[in-house]
């Protein structure tokens, strides 16, 4: 055996961690520097829109907590538990999937595994990266909610100081569990991992369906009654298990925000909060130890198993739908149709895309089918109808951001193929837009119609909703495709990372604002009309701006505005994207 070389040595744990920390610091600094030097406007826009998004959420949560503060404190605890426990499940899955990509499929893993470093150090490095990507949404959504709660409860500064430690220590637990499941599955169940994921996904999907179904499958007469509240609380109490980290988090936060009477009375509550924080930190650290131990024993084995897998060869026939789409229309439009069919084929063969599409829209459909069980009056039914429209839009916006926005970036990586084809570059952008618009239009308009029918809304309202939905589909597709073409990331192979980058975040923020604007403008005359009839003089207001806004004039004006904003949101980003994509040099 040759003695170890003089010029190098095996490093201790801490030194390996320091090197990775330095690496991440350098990469982050280089990223920020290049953004500051080349894309100041973009960066400012993202910061501004994110701040607006944060502010809007804060306002919404502030109002909600002010209303709930008058109810029993248990309601808050129940809501926190339900929110954090569902988040916990999502973090287990999302971190597991991100770690799978980072530890087993990335070129970086291939480099790191040929260096003389510990496997657990590589795990730890990739884990921190995965946690960042999987939990930024939690920070963006969770922080306005928790800050609003603290403000409503008039919490002391210690509550606000403890927010970040609480959130971070909580995130570590489900994220580490996701990492552990991922390593176990790859190393010891490589062949079963797809089946295991399918079973787990089906179980979670079935659980969600059961929760939605059971929440609304009560008789109409009981809705919003004391019995209904009791039943709903009883169902949600499943999330109040004291062994769940989500319970430790919500209990800790509630204790930290508690303000008892008397000067020294806050201390016991703070001590209690710190106890829950310590519980979260201790469990997170323990799980990290377990994950490190597992990584040392299983990472190389798993990597080798996975690299050694041969993908199954399956013959794919050209489907009749594809053939029909290609042959439909004029010869001039054939290249465009071929590009759409190519995207349709990729979508069909990517289980992660269509399964999420089916689950989310399926759950929404199930909820709309049961929406009749609520005994709404006219005003509430109309409001719920518009809220349902907003929910459909928000779900569509998550899809357009996650799957449509990265499409141009991913296409850019294959530019050497597309660049040589006799296809105009504009066709590539238009094909993505058509794919997204048509793909979103049918389920969204169908769902909105279902919701309206189940709520028993008037034909006039249905037409308003359908026009607004059409504009949402157009605008959201235009924003995602246009911004995707304007800010492509040609070097990143992972669509999830492209979507969670600056461009993707900007697309999500603009999409959310667009949905809010469209829904509010569409809802306003309708709402005024119903309010004026419900609370105004008999027969509704006779004169003035309110009368005009609540009448047919207001409806036509609001619809014209909705269409105008929808068209601007569609064509301005598309125009910018097309111009940028024409000049793109890959």
């Amino acid at each position: 055996m040759t003695p170890l070389p003089q010029s190098c040595r095996l490093l201790p744990h801490e030194a390996e961690s320091r090197i990775f920390l330095r690496l991440r610091g350098r990469v982050a600094w280089a990223t920020v520097r290049s953004m500051l030097s080349g894309a100041r406007l973009r960066l400012s826009l993202v910061v501004l829109l994110s701040a607006m998004f944060w502010g809007s959420l804060y306002g919404l949560f502030f109002e909600a907590f002010t209303f709930l503060d008058s109810l029993h404190a248990e309601v808050i605890s129940l809501l926190f538990n339900a929110f954090f426990s569902s988040l916990m499940v999502m973090l287990v899955f999302s971190t597991g999937i991100l770690l799978y990509g980072g530890m087993y499929c990335s070129p970086e893993a291939k480099l790191l595994l040929t260096l003389p470093i510990r496997e657990e150090a590589v795990f730890s490095h990739k884990f921190q990266e995965a946690v960042w990507f999987s939990s930024w949404g939690f920070i963006l959504l969770g922080s306005p909610m928790l800050v609003a709660y603290g403000v409503v409860r008039d919490a002391s500064w210690t509550y606000f100081a403890l927010l970040l430690p609480f959130m971070v220590s909580f995130v570590v637990i489900p994220a580490t569990l996701g990492g552990i499941f991922c390593m176990l599955m790859v190393a010891w169940m490589p062949r079963l991992r797809l089946h295991a994921m399918t079973v787990a996904g089906t179980a979670v999907g079935a659980g969600l369906i059961w929760m939605v179904w059971s929440s609304f499958s009560v008789s109409r007469a009981d809705t919003m009654s004391a019995a209904w509240f009791e039943q709903t609380f009883a169902r949600l109490s499943v999330t109040e298990q004291k062994l769940f980290p989500s319970w430790w988090l919500s209990s800790g936060l509630i204790e930290a925000a508690r303000k008892d009477e008397g000067a020294a009375a806050g201390w016991p509550a703070l001590a209690e909060a710190l106890k829950f924080l310590a519980l979260l930190i201790a469990n997170g650290m323990l799980l990290q130890l377990v994950a490190g131990w597992l990584a040392a024993r299983s990472y190389r084995l798993g990597y080798s198993q996975l690299t050694g897998e041969v993908p199954a060869r399956r013959r794919r026939r050209i489907s009749w739908i594809d053939q029909a789409l290609v042959n439909a229309g004029t010869a001039a439009g054939r290249p465009l149709r071929l590009l759409v069919v190519k995207d349709l084929r990729l979508f069909r063969r990517d289980i992660s895309q269509w399964s999420q599409f089916v689950i989310f829209f399926g759950l929404l459909g199930l909820y709309f089918l049961n929406v009749r069980s609520f005994n709404y009056n006219n005003t509430y039914a109309s409001m719920i109808g518009f809220l349902n429209l907003a929910v459909v839009g928000l779900i569509l916006s998550t899809f357009t951001t996650r799957f449509v926005f990265p499409m141009i970036s991913l296409e850019g990586r294959r530019f050497w193929i597309l660049g040589l084809l006799p296809v105009h570059r504009d066709h590539i952008v238009w094909s993505k837009f058509l794919f997204s618009f048509v793909g979103g239009l049918l389920p969204c308009c169908g769902l909105v119609l279902l919701s309206d029918v189940m709520l028993g809304l008037s034909q006039r309202t249905m037409v308003i909703h359908e026009i607004a939905c059409l504009m949402l589909c157009l605008g959201l597709s235009g924003i995602a495709v246009g911004l995707g073409a304007r800010m492509p990331d040609l070097r990143e192979p992972s669509p999830s990372k492209i979507a969670s980058g600056f461009g993707g975040t900007l697309s999500l923020v603009i999409s959310s604002l667009f949905i809010m604007v469209i829904v509010v403008i569409a809802a306003l005359p309708n709402h005024l009309f119903l309010i004026s009839h419900a609370f105004g003089p008999p027969g509704g207001p006779q004169r003035g701006l309110l009368a005009w806004a609540a009448g047919p004039g207001g409806t036509i004006a609001s619809m014209a505005l909705v269409v105008a904003i929808g068209l601007v949101a569609t064509f301005v980003p598309l125009f910018l994207g097309l111009r940028s994509f024409r000049e793109l040099e890959p």
Binding site: T2, L4, S7, C8, L10, P116, V310
Partner: protein, 250 residues
């Protein structure tokens, strides 16, 4: 220095490498040849510890790649077929990262980094982000990083891809000089002229089996053909007809 001891690697029902036994001593430049899908990359992945053999052992400088991967890696420098760099690091930062990972003392690392930057003519772009590099620049940087810790064994997977003629010359000179100093080189290549010019011994793999092992002259003798070109000998040995039993062997 490098030992493959009855190594077999299977991918499901397919055997990528079958019972490979091969020893490459100190200071030898060994070239592994073979058609696409012959098992060369699998062999290299086992040699650098990315894949575990289904059966048998791989050792570098006496260290088993499965049982003592970290010790083995201290002796190995690896240049993969597709260079992997951090886009947001400069070339110099990447070299420091690798030197740090190998636990090199600061003064020695600084000295070696300066020397490799000069050797591979990286000075002009060493302080630019790697995202702006061409394939050839990346390949030169990876070469420099693989030699920083002065390894006993250098593993090269298609090393000349993307390199311009001047860089090819630099690499060839370097390999000759380093093997004279005692470094062992294991190289997989499709460039037969390079193998003929540089290799002390060649191995020809066909469908996971080592069909020939020896010098190019021995190959000529064994094939007993009129031609003296390695290309012709290679094509003859790897042709489907040659796969029939009894026609040739290692």
């Amino acid at each position: 220095m490098i030992e493959f001891d009855h190594v077999t690697r299977t991918y499901g029902p397919k055997t990528a490498v079958a019972d490979l036994t091969l020893a490459i001593p100190r200071g030898e430049l060994f070239a592994m040849l073979g058609p696409n899908g012959a098992g060369k990359t699998t062999t290299i992945k086992m040699l650098v510890g990315l894949l575990r053999p289904s059966r048998g052992n791989v050792r570098v400088s006496g260290y088993d790649l499965v049982r003592e991967p970290r010790n083995a890696h201290l002796h190995i420098g690896y240049v993969p077929d597709e260079p992997c760099l951090y886009d947001k690091l400069t070339g110099r930062e990447f070299l420091w990262f690798i030197a740090d990972m190998f636990g090199m003392p600061r003064h020695l690392a600084s000295e070696r980094i300066a020397s490799e930057i000069e050797h591979f003519e990286l000075g002009e772009f060493a302080d630019d982000l790697a995202e702006s590099y061409s394939l050839g620049m990346k390949q030169r940087l990876v070469f420099a990083s693989s030699l920083l810790h002065d390894p006993d064994v250098l593993v090269l997977d298609e090393p000349m891809v993307g390199l311009d003629p001047r860089s090819v010359r630099i690499v060839k000179d370097l390999l000759k000089a380093r093997t004279r100093e005692g470094m062992t080189v294991f190289m997989s290549t499709h460039t037969l002229a390079m193998a003929e010019e540089m290799a002390d011994r060649v191995g020809i793999m066909v469908r996971g089996q080592l069909r020939f092992l020896g010098t190019v002259d021995e190959l000529r003798d064994q094939m007993a053909l009129e031609t003296t070109s390695l290309e012709q000998l290679y094509l003859e040995l790897t042709s489907p007809r040659a796969a029939e039993p009894g026609r040739s062997g290692a």
